[in-house]
Symmetry: D2
Subunit: 394 residues, 4 copies
């Protein structure tokens, strides 16, 4: 949000960055049929049409309307249709009604993207103040976040279809393996510096940089694997209340949870639904699509715990990460000296700082270049449709 040195340097190619991010979204759309752009089976999951229109809306609403000369908006109604949660800007489509809208058509939405891209290119011709450049960079990072949501939301929507449609036959997501060493790294405690410290882009929730005192701890070099999770299931982990938070236990029972999301058993073999269709579970892969409750119960079963986000960040240079978002034992709260930006942009992060848990790392669905060790992702403890796994600590 407050980009520094790197983004202010002469060499930084903002227009190139813009062009790459916007093209990447369109590449994600290639395998889709028109019909795939529409459904929203649950409130958390947005339709692709909404995702690609909303990211475009961000540039129109936050940048073009304010900083482009004589800007004519593409369609006056799009502001209402594609606002997500910015109260400052006004009324919007109810979140659970995004899937009710057949119009504008997919074609219209792509025309909207083209129109805004052309206007943005025109804007790049001018000398832009740093503040506008910063907003553009924010808009592109916002679009990268929605690129990941595009994939996770689409995966959910395809998964509820009894015909198990394939997004991309050889989509990489299913094949990523991992050497499961299981070694624990010993980390010495003391005062650690936490929060963003580079010279590139970062979100406001990664600030302010501050000190935290950590005890000595150990953290596992590798993620928990599918094989580990099968063992947990076979040992009755989903039926032993002692392993679960009270609300987690209610969740398990209310929804009759007995495995991670997208797992189905055919005869005695586990299958998982992937963006490449229904596949056999690969035991060596890191476990995925688990809730915080499941992550925490698994750790309890192992006699261990989840790392805090501070431990994770402090140790993150000593292990590989990036395949799965990793649940931490930390609630999503402001850092000391956190402050909210003025205006609509200030609604980006702070107002969600309640009842959510922090995830660190990134996932196979995270867009290239959109990860760093200070990145704070966050979700409610029962949610599982992101590519979420866990790493043990003790």
């Amino acid at each position: 949000m407050r980009p520094k040195h790197q983004l202010e340097s002469a060499e930084f190619d903002l227009e190139g960055f813009y062009s790459n991010v916007r093209k990447y979204t369109e590449k994600l759309c290639e395998p889709l049929e028109v019909e795939d752009y529409i459904p929203q089976p649950i409130e958390d999951v947005s339709p692709p049409k909404w995702n690609i229109a909303h990211t475009t809306w961000f540039f129109e609403e936050m940048i073009l309307k304010s900083f482009a000369d004589d800007y004519t908006e593409f369609d006056a109604e799009f502001g209402f249709l594609f606002n997500s949660y910015y109260n400052t800007i006004g009324e919007r489509t109810q979140r659970n009604q995004r899937g009710d809208l057949s119009r504008p058509t997919v074609k219209d939405v792509f025309a909207y993207r083209k129109y805004v891209d052309a206007e943005m290119r025109a804007l790049f011709e001018q000398e832009l103040p740093q503040k506008v450049k910063d907003l553009i960079v924010l808009g592109l990072n916002h679009e990268q976040q929605h690129q990941e949501l595009f994939l996770t939301d689409l995966k959910y929507t395809l998964s509820v279809n009894p015909t198990y449609p394939v997004y991309r036959e050889n989509f990489a997501l299913v094949e990523k393996g991992e050497i499961d060493s299981g070694n624990f790294i010993e980390v010495e405690g003391g005062i650690k510096e936490i929060g963003f410290d580079g010279d590139g882009f970062h979100f406001d929730n990664e600030l302010g940089r501050h000190k935290a005192y950590l005890e000595d701890f150990e953290i596992c070099e590798s993620l928990v694997s599918n094989a580990d999770f099968v063992e947990f299931i076979n040992d009755g982990g989903y039926r032993d209340h002692r392993l679960w938070h009270s609300e987690g236990w209610d969740w398990v029972n209310s929804y009759q949870i007995s495995s991670p999301l997208y797992w189905t058993k055919k005869e005695s073999n586990w299958n998982i639904f992937t963006l490449g269709g229904l596949r056999k579970l690969i035991p060596e892969n890191p476990a995925c699509h688990i809730s915080f409750y499941e992550a925490s119960a698994f750790a309890e079963w192992k006699g261990m715990r989840l790392p805090t986000e501070f431990e994770w960040e402090a140790a993150s240079d000593r292990f590989d990460w990036g395949l799965r978002w990793e649940w931490t034992g930390s609630a999503y709260l402001p850092y000391p000296n956190f402050s909210t930006a003025k205006g609509a942009v200030g609604e980006y992060n702070g107002k969600f700082m309640i009842n959510q848990m922090v995830l660190r790392g990134s996932s196979v669905a995270t867009s290239p270049g959109h990860s760093r060790k200070s990145y704070r992702n966050f979700f409610h403890p029962q949610l599982r449709w992101q590519f979420t796994g866990l790493r043990l600590a003790k």
Copy 2:
């Protein structure tokens, strides 16, 4: 269900009837974009894709699979996807999840229709037993019912879109007028014969033909108009508990109902959403999209009542009907000697005979040839997305 003389006569052109009905469905689809086939904003409203696949499924499931030689089904999964409510046939898509399915595509569904139509044409080459012919006629009447639902469901879906999309610019539904004479016809009581008595198609719920004793009554020549309903609104009809059933009053307050469905006030003028887009309310048109609760409260306000379905049928030759389904004061119950057919077809009507009210007549959205005076339509008392109005009696 048990067609008689007319349908058994040599002159009755079943293949022509089949062809006409199936083509009419496709004609209804013409103005649609691919996206329009998908959304299901509420459980009662099915997506067009589902409607056109389900009517096709009826012919495949009930006829081709049983009576065509060596029939190969189009796609084994369609049976699950497009079954509506036939428990006898097996599992099916949950009714509220019809809008979650992007696949099969619209193109696939039209290919399904073509495939089944070709197989049906092949079947017509053969000499068919009367029982099969009867089932085909049932299937075509079933499709005609879904043609009306196609329009009413689509209207609802388009109505939740803030851009008020137009289905057909000059669609007739908005323009149908009526001379509002307000004359009451006096009908002499006595024993009347009720139920189907012709020699054509009819549903099982129109049988058995039986006697009912009616007192003398009066029934209005014309339907209640929009102007009448505006008067009711202006007189505080929606805020006077004395006019409402107890459950109707709860409904008014829970959903803050203050006008018929699709009415919106801009400044001091009433507009209504139609399949031709948002239009000015035409006072002379018959009131439409009202629930049984509203119909009943209106009648109470007038110091009158709704006719029973028996009164309606007995007097129906003496007034014009067909623009709006007309709520009656009769609950949907079996006639004396009603009996349910064996097998899946037996689930057509009988199992819905609770908590619903009978509507008589037909509407502007009813398919040509699909109405008769003994026809019994039925809906829950709070529903309004059909073209429903009322006629007063006393």
Copy 3:
């Protein structure tokens, strides 16, 4: 509501009637502990404290406030607390919050009864206009209805207590037997006179007296017994969708219904909870505590049906009734020429005429003298906490 000859005769002892009914309520209270007066486990079930205060409130609100000279109300807040559903009179305790009120105490409520009784006795000293006498008779019939509710509500409340408390050890309800002849009576059809025709009290919903045409029918001399229902259960009746209304089938599955209310199986024996505690099921007793859905599914299983309320009334002199309310196949609707009284009393019946089914007869819990063949009871089709059974027709 519009009492005639009998009540107007000089011999009719209104004060004696008042005294008897009021005392009977107090007799029902005798076995109760103070604590029993408070809980309301579900919305349909009112606490005893509310029942005995509300019936008293009726006399204060409808009679004393209007017709007693210089009447001083017992407590200004009781009007709000103990109004049931009379919108005309004003705001009231939410129906589902009757069990939240610990005050006024039970002692206070009995003081309230004493106070009103004394004032009523004073009123009887005067010469009362027939209109007031009629209202008093209505109030006493109203109290008799609440006497039955007192027992059925209390039974429900005690039943949710895992200790199965006993109301009266040798309470008659469990012991009523019946000769289960199973004979069917043949009744000749034709025009029948339906509705109240005596010279005593009756409710407005029993009017107007009118003609109805009935086909020939047969009706069973005896009620369906517990043994019959055990057979239905053992034959899989609760698991065969073909027997049920669609909404009934949803109800069975949502609530996992597999027997009448209050039945529990210990090892292989059926027990039932009664006002005399938990008892062994007596096979010869008439089945009880079944919903309309269950009654209808049972009849379907037998290849028969429920009688209509008109058939029941027409044949009611030819069989014994009075142990169980009997579900009929008739929806609760106004009779021809039904009209609603002006003012609060007009809210007594008419506004409930939707989505309910008629029951005829009376039950073991009905107060002495409070039954007649034209009496129309009514409940929603899923409700079972009344003493409800069924009689077959064909």
Copy 4:
């Protein structure tokens, strides 16, 4: 949970402590009518009967059954009836059905208390191992927690009664005032020791004692007052989305929150419901019965924030506390090295460590001797029926 030095010393009078705590509960009951022991208007609020039986059950279940020779339980069904949430011990009354139970009577429950007290006194005659003594101390602290709940739950139940019953006319809760200096104390940052460090009783969630690094901060000497909150209301605080968490804003709108709980406006004056009945709001009193959302929005409005629980503990010797529980900005999470006890006692705290916020201090309803600076109370962010207020930090 693991009491140390003080409780192990020879001088510590365990029997006296037992006697005092148990008597205090009975003193709290004195003003109650039998009826007051029963209702449970919302799930969070337990009936007094349940509170006083459950605390007794703890001694029977955890101590007498295991450690008293030949102990005969008072009533075999009480184990089921009065278990709260201990899955380890078995089935129990559903939490939302505690108010449905009229039996056992209040008299029975007091007999149960007497019986258990006598058995406990007999146990005190023996030489008890330290482990049993520790469990008894835990049981007494548990009862003290329920003493506070007794008052807060009772307050809620009386508040829903339109007659505003009085618990104790001159009950202190309404009258506690406070000098509202508004001074901010400057606290120097650095490494602080956090967690229990004394030699008396403490709960497991106060351990392990550990280091935390704090930045410099300021914390207010006094609590936010009613006058402050009136100002917040008058400035539109409840209608300005920018001040609220996203979920807080949903909560405000769903429940139409516009003031703290128990506040009602009569004409232009604020009244509050207290255990002494309805009273005028005293501006100088500390604000009370606010949710975390309200506390946080108020702080945002002031341009400040809530203290973390670590800041609070580190500074707690420098200000007065004890009138209101104080919301902190800390989520309820385990301290480093937190571990759960084996068996049912292990369900005391750990399983609630999700989606709740920490409160520090104590309240006017907290039992004498039941507070210390390391005490961690916790509730969901929307709850307000405890005596909760806030202190500002910056």
